[in-house]
Symmetry: C3
Subunit: 249 residues, 3 copies
């Protein structure tokens, strides 16, 4: 059925990335790897995780199967193993998973996939702005804003020069993180003078915790459009899509 082995720390990181958005998720176990796509209860944030079979030390799936996992419980168990240990997983039947880390063996019950919120369709969106920056910088912008307000504007300005910014405004105080070309891996806007959209810090906070560990994070930004955040995390690829909050004038 499904049998694989992967470094415990890699799997931990992947589950943690999902937990920034959802508590439980369907895992699609396919011959070329594992993929997860989930949306939060309020339909504001989407997460997509791709863990290709090359991220695993051994990996075999007879035919595609979908399982449901309680992510909090799963992460708690993974934390019991040595992060450098090998984590072996064997699906026993569609309702039970066997997990082995060193001398530790878990048998955990799976969630019935049909009870989990359906996978979202990924919307096709045109986003004219794109910036690639350090994960730690993106996180700093989020943390700095937390003390100021509940919303964060993320955008790119091209006049007088191209800058990426993250800006929060409270009743009396204001914070702005501004990074120019030299502080970024790349920046570009197609056909617009600027792009800016506003987001809830509550969601970004959780994502920021995960993104801080990424060397590079790519942001795609529009005007009052969702932000598309993607990055590699260890051997996995993570993508968050977060809906904007429309700014009142």
């Amino acid at each position: 059925m499904f049998k694989s082995s992967i470094r415990t720390s890699v799997l931990r990181g992947a589950i943690d990335a999902l937990l920034a958005v959802v508590d439980e998720a369907r895992f699609n176990l396919k011959p070329d790897g594992i993929s997860v796509r989930a949306v939060d209860a309020a339909n504001v944030a989407m997460v997509n995780l791709e863990l290709s079979n090359s991220a695993f030390d051994t990996y075999s799936v007879d035919k595609e199967i979908t399982i449901g996992l309680d992510l909090t419980k799963f992460l708690d168990l993974l934390k019991m193993g040595n992060p450098d240990s090998e984590c072996e997983m064997v699906l026993q039947d569609s309702s039970r998973l066997k997990i082995k880390m060193g001398s530790l063996n878990y048998h955990i019950s799976l969630l019935e996939p049909s009870t989990i919120k359906r996978e979202p369709k990924v919307p096709e969106i045109e986003l004219p702005g794109e910036v690639i920056l350090k994960g730690a910088d993106f996180r700093q912008g989020i943390k700095a804003a937390e003390a100021i307000g509940d919303y964060l504007v993320i955008g790119i300005e091209t006049k007088p020069q191209e800058v990426f910014f993250m800006e929060a405004e409270g009743d009396v105080d204001k914070v702005r993180l501004e990074l120019s070309k030299d502080d970024l891996f790349s920046i570009s806007v197609v056909g617009e003078e600027y792009v800016r959209s506003m987001f809830s810090i509550e969601y970004l906070k959780e994502m920021g915790r995960v993104i801080a560990g990424a060397d590079e994070v790519k942001l795609r930004i529009g005007n009052d459009f969702p932000i598309d955040i993607s990055f590699r995390l260890g051997e996995g690829h993570v993508r968050y899509l977060l809906a904007p909050r429309i700014e009142a004038d």
Copy 2:
């Protein structure tokens, strides 16, 4: 009367080992060292600490005397000193102890020994199974079980081969730590095919915290019998005896 000096960190470790079972205890100050034996309020767990006079840098007792100590308060005070400092103790009379660590001097009142739960008799029990393992491994088995259920089965199986195991079962999930000969310092069972007894994780959790610091811990196990856990901690010798919870069929 009683006058001694010992490394603060050694004394801290010893008091901490007692605290896994009781909050206050009688200390028997004897010419050959200090011994403490105490049982918890529910009569489920017993602790025995032996700190021989060789664990001390200086040690003198005129004649045997018993004092009562509030362990939480005593440990709090010991934490105020530098762990590498010398801790000098002088008994001033049966109700006051003087403690000196570096330039810090405490005078603390003692508990009247007769107000403390009587010392238990150590039951004579035959335990056919014996295993010696790393303290850290024993602790991992306890921690892994915490997330699963309230009880932990500890045992040895001899068929098909000798293995030591710690197993917890919840409503739907199961965890088993299994260590074979190669992962253990020693394993043996006399006259039985297997031994197994079930214990409350609540008690083991506290003990596990202390045991994690021991290089080797010896477990003696029977069938639905108390477990006898003994280990060296710094210069002291600690023994826990924990009553089983009889498994319902």
Copy 3:
């Protein structure tokens, strides 16, 4: 108006020192540096901070001006920057301050100085005892006393020899930190056999946290008089004055 740049960690330390006594304060921005003097709501503790212009990498003030700052909020913002980064401050008008650390820009509103408790006059007091000791030792004396009681007696005895002591007494327990000449940088009493005054641990606890970071702290002590505590913190100079609590006989 006012424009300066200073290492973020130096500024953090200075604000933290003020926070041991007050939550908001008036900052006097003068050509030769910044000075703050504040007293707590109960008029028990005073703090004086002097940060001379040489503590700054750049510093310019046209004419003296007083601004009001919410210290908790200010420290929170400073923690968002890298401690090794340069913190640039520009006063925009008397009600707004611009703070830049790396790519992070804050605009914060200032408090109207007239709404903040007036600066105290520093009382002229003769204190016959003086001792200079390690900040860490002073802190150890405070921490050790916390577990024992609510008040701490601080003093110097000259007979049979000069010792500095910190002493707390609870209902049944007692602690005394005693340091003689060899453990101190200096000790002296003018015209008295001893000096001793009693203080609330609640206040000392907060101060102790800050003082622990100072290599040397100078204490000036009288008999039932305020204690005068002064020390260098990074590039700043901090002074606390704490009123005594008169000992009941």
